[in-house]
């Protein structure tokens, strides 16, 4: 008997559909101004809402193909060496201050991970995590909520180990 056969033989199966809980626990989000709520969450998380025209790229930059239409900047370094990675998000979540990032248009997963600064452009927003999950694109996806952090040493918060220590977010609200 293979391990698979043995394990499946031991595992229960009710045969009929067991009732799953239907009333979903409500969250506290009141959903007034979504972009405003999103921006304050970003600040709480240590991320930085910015305006693209105020961004000065005096650092070496890697611009994802998906993000190129939105910025005049060109890549000046390969990804492993870039100081800033510029990416495009699918959409944002107002309730949690999160960004949904995919590999659309060949966007590299590592551009939101390798450079110490990640600049993400986002146009679309949904109110809650629950809604976001119902609209999640297929494939390899990441939900990013703030800059990389750890508190492993004495519980003291440190940013930028190992992902980007600075997360800049450009919100270009669709008309």
């Amino acid at each position: 008997m293979t391990a698979r056969e043995r394990i499946l033989a031991c595992a229960p199966s009710t045969g009929q559909s067991m009732p799953r809980p239907t009333v979903f626990p409500r969250t506290c989000f009141d959903g007034a101004d979504l972009w405003e709520a999103f921006r304050s969450k970003l600040v709480e998380l240590g991320a930085e809402p910015i305006d693209l025209k105020d961004f000065k790229a005096d650092q070496t930059v890697y611009v994802e193909p998906a993000a190129r239409p939105f910025t005049e900047l060109k890549s000046t370094a390969p990804l492993w060496k870039a100081e800033v990675g510029i990416s495009l998000a699918d959409f944002a979540i107002a309730e949690t201050g999160s960004l949904i990032v995919t590999t659309m248009l060949g966007q590299e997963r590592l551009s939101t991970l390798l450079p110490p600064v990640n600049l993400v452009i986002v146009h679309r927003i949904v109110p809650t995590l629950f809604e976001a999950l119902s609209q999640l694109p297929p494939g390899n996806v990441a939900i990013i909520t703030g800059p990389s952090r750890t508190a492993d040493i004495e519980g003291k918060l440190v940013r930028g180990v190992h992902g980007p220590g600075r997360l800049l977010v450009v919100t270009q609200e669709e008309e």
Binding site: I7, S13, M18, P147, I153, V161, G163
Partner: protein, 450 residues
């Protein structure tokens, strides 16, 4: 009378106890506010999560089959392992397909890989697994073991970490947590780049879509599972959720219970190997489904222990854990849930872990999936009594004593004297405050009353 945990607690240095207590208290105090900021009714969220996990365990076979089917459709290769040694063999074989002895393998934090002692197995065979989670990285440099499910170096302070880094050759010497962390980041960058294989655990495997969900704050997990060309994910067979909408409850519950966050910084959905339209990511992805004792309890009174999502909240709340730290438990799984899981997983022989508890119930109160840990500890004690396990207190003699009234009366008179001398009765009363007595001896009052 002292159990193994008690004895260990006496040897723990005050620095460690202080570190563990401070961190645990901070986390426990922050848990309810964190959950209440997100959920209108955190108790409802806990019940909901507990019921979903019951559904998973009741329908495990169907969900596992569905998960396997979806994974295969997504291009993920699925392997099944009865026990630790089978899992290690599978993982080693998969590593050797892309890595030669001496090659770097990067590892993200995973309790499943710790329970099977994967690192030792790979190292014995010439491979070089490098832990990339900051706490685990320090542990690995120190040849130490983690003392907490979520924050592995809760027992260390910055000076100890600085010492470890100095001995590992990192410079300049610094005791600032920020600079230490950045030194680790710098060192590990090279390892991510050169690694041939990345190994991770799985927080939630979604049966409906076959996607493997991994959560973290640092980014080392995404790096370990994206940069190398091969990704091996190891999961206990119970770590499933039926559908992605369930994550709307589980992700904030896990983050809130583990680290008082609303969400962890990164929630990573691994769908499968690099697709034609993708420019990076591993070209082969493997899922290893591990049993290792879990299927034995699916029909037992310990079944609900399999609901555990490894948040560590029970550790943070436990007064015994705060006193002894994780190392006192002598097992990969520490804390209250560890006292239940250790006899189950790997079939650790009976220890006195179930007795090392005051049954205060703090763990059950904070468990996001409502595992009735104190009930399970009692059941384990009951099973120990049924077996040949020798209890420390001679209960059979105590029973005889209570059934002979003259002996009982004599012992009541002698007890206040006996506790003044070293020996078992004083061990019982030493750590307890007896209420002060008022009035007369009850028996005499009863006999004298009109």
């Amino acid at each position: 009378m002292s159990s193994q945990v008690d004895q260990f607690a006496q040897t723990v240095s005050p620095t460690v106890t202080d570190s563990v207590r401070a961190a645990s208290k901070l986390k426990t105090d922050g848990r309810t506010p964190a959950l209440s900021r997100h959920f209108q009714d955190p108790e409802h969220a806990r019940s909901h999560a507990s019921e979903i996990k019951s559904y998973v365990l009741d329908n495990l076979k169907d969900l596992l089959l569905q998960l396997e089917q979806r994974c295969l459709e997504n291009g993920v290769q699925v392997h099944w392992a009865n026990n630790a040694s089978e899992a290690n063999e599978i993982i080693y074989r998969l590593c050797r397909e892309s890595a030669a002895p001496g090659d770097t393998i990067v590892k993200a934090k995973s309790m499943a890989t710790e329970e099977i002692h994967l690192n030792a197995y790979l190292e014995e065979r010439g491979l070089v697994p490098v832990e990339t989670d900051l706490g685990e990285f320090v542990i690995q440099l120190d040849n130490d073991t983690p003392s907490h499910l979520v924050t592995p170096i809760i027992h260390k302070n910055a000076r100890q970490v600085a010492q470890t880094f100095k001995e590992a050759g990192f410079s300049p010497y610094t005791e600032s947590p920020n600079d230490l962390a950045l030194q680790a980041r710098h060192h590990l960058r090279k390892r991510f780049r050169e690694a041939k294989v990345g190994i991770s655990g799985v927080n939630f495997a979604i049966a409906e879509t076959g996607r493997l969900v991994i959560v973290e704050n640092e980014g080392n997990n995404r790096l370990s599972t994206t940069a190398p060309l091969t990704h091996i994910a190891v999961m206990g067979l119970e770590k499933l959720l039926p559908s992605e909408s369930d994550l709307a409850v589980f992700l904030p519950l896990l983050a809130g219970s583990a680290t008082n966050q609303q969400l962890t910084t990164y929630v990573h959905f691994v769908s499968g190997p690099r697709q034609p339209q993708e420019s990076d990511g591993p070209t082969s992805v493997h899922l290893v489904i591990l049993d290792n004792g879990r299927s034995d309890v699916l029909n037992s009174s310990f079944r609900d222990a399999l609901k555990c999502i490894r948040c560590g909240a029970c550790l943070n709340a436990c007064p015994v854990y705060r006193q002894a730290s994780g190392h006192g438990y002598g097992s990969v799984f520490c804390g209250p849930i560890g006292a239940v899981l250790s006899p189950i997983i790997n079939g650790t022989p009976f220890s006195d872990l179930p007795f090392a508890s005051t049954l205060c119930g703090a763990c059950e109160e904070v468990c996001p999936v409502k595992i009735p840990i104190p009930d399970m500890l009692l059941e384990l004690r009951h099973q120990a009594a049924q077996s040949n396990f020798k209890p420390k207190v001679p209960w059979d003699k105590f029973e005889a004593l209570t059934q002979r009234s003259h002996l009982w009366r004599a012992s009541l008179t002698l007890l206040p004297i006996a506790i003044r001398f070293p020996g078992p009765p004083s061990e019982w009363t030493d750590s307890r405050i007896a209420p002060s007595r008022r009035g007369r001896n009850f028996r005499r009052w009863w006999n004298d009353r009109p």
